[in-house]
């Protein structure tokens, strides 16, 4: 069922455009990386402050509240580029084990938000008065960093896999130059 969804997605007009226009895929992937760097900034600053490891001169509410909107904007930008690159070869990516782990981790990020947003990220003012961030805040921040790190690593590892024989392999202009598969 997921496979047919992937095939439907890659055949939509927008994804077909990404696939057919030779420079689209590298450009969008590069934008994905650039937005990741900006997004990672906000995540890093927020979580390092919650762990008490960095930017200690500033209060928690200063950092968390000011970065909330940039975090969301960054997330939307990253996900948009990611969906476009995914859609250009969705059927091929369906078989990629690293992308499966990556999306599992993204789902866990959603769970993390449900669990910790109300008690930690939205309560930054209450955390200010404490001398040290409480255990719950540190747990939230630590888990968040680990999850996002895993997502980044899985995303890079996904580029190392060639599709299995017999599936549609859409050759964009640059595909033949990919590094040889190490994990097939």
């Amino acid at each position: 069922m997921l496979l047919s969804l992937a095939i439907w997605f890659q055949n939509t007009a927008l994804c077909a455009l990404v696939r057919d226009w030779p420079l689209a895929y590298p450009i969008i992937l590069t934008l994905h990386l650039i937005f990741i760097s900006l997004f990672a900034t906000t995540i890093l600053a927020t979580d390092l402050r919650l762990l008490g490891w960095g930017l200690r001169k500033y209060s928690i509410s200063d950092i968390v509240d000011q970065l909330r909107v940039p975090k969301r904007i960054g997330f939307v930008l990253v996900v948009t580029c990611g969906l476009l690159t995914l859609g250009s070869k969705a059927e091929e990516y369906y078989y990629n084990p690293y992308l499966r782990v990556k999306f599992l981790l993204l789902a866990l990020v959603g769970v993390h938000a449900l669990v910790f947003r109300g008690s930690v990220y939205n309560k930054a003012a209450e955390l200010d008065v404490l001398a040290e961030p409480p255990l719950r805040a540190k747990l939230a921040a630590g888990l968040s960093l680990l999850l996002w790190l895993g997502i980044a690593i899985m995303g890079r590892s996904a580029g190392y896999v060639y599709p299995p024989a017999g599936t549609h392999h859409f050759a964009t202009l640059f595909d033949s130059a990919f590094m040889p598969s190490l994990f097939l």
């Binding site: 590298p26 992937l29 590069t30 990386l33 650039i34 990741i36 760097s37 900006l38 990672a40 900034t41 906000t42 890093l44 600053a45 960095g54 930017l55 001169k57 500033y58 200063d62 950092i63 000011q66 970065l67 940039p70 790190l149 980044a152 690593i153 890079r156 590892s157 580029g159 190392y160 640059f174 033949s176 130059a177 990919f178 590094m179 190490l182």
Partner: protein
């Protein structure tokens, strides 16, 4: 050096590449924190001078890790990278970006600046680092 090079083991390259990527994500992220502040986005209640002082250590350490990992990655196949145009562009932009970051960027921010000049410096810095990322991305897309 290429004979019996332990870095040719199948898993070594991806692992070192992870250090490279995390390293530059932290480094460029910390630099971007300051640049975005100059552009009026993000941590607006703090001054850029404060931010650059507080993120300085993070930038140095993560940049060092990233460059060292990058050198290791390069050593696995020097000829391929040397002949790769995007890689050469990336290296030029990297040198420019690092030099810019520790000279003009730092001086302009430390001295207290007009917002117009600050925006220009921030845009230039972000553009240089973005070029480094682009170059790195395109390396894997071009055969030579």
């Amino acid at each position: 050096m290429l004979i019996d090079n332990p870095l040719n083991s199948e898993l070594a390259f991806p692992i070192i590449e992870c250090f490279h990527i995390v390293g530059f994500a932290v480094a460029i992220g910390s630099i971007a924190l300051v640049d975005l502040r100059l552009l009026g986005v993000g941590l607006r209640r703090q001054s850029a001078a404060d931010l650059i002082r507080d993120t300085g250590l993070w930038v140095v350490v993560s940049l060092a890790i990233s460059v060292f990992a990058g050198l290791l990655l390069y050593s696995t196949d020097p000829d391929k990278y040397y002949l790769n145009t995007p890689f050469v562009v990336k290296m030029i932009c990297l040198v420019l970006a690092i030099v810019f970051n520790y000279t003009i960027h730092r001086k302009v921010i430390g001295a207290g600046i007009s917002s117009g000049l600050g925006k220009l410096v921030a845009c230039l810095s972000l553009a240089l680092w973005a070029s480094v990322i682009c170059g790195g991305m395109l390396v894997s897309f071009t055969a030579v």
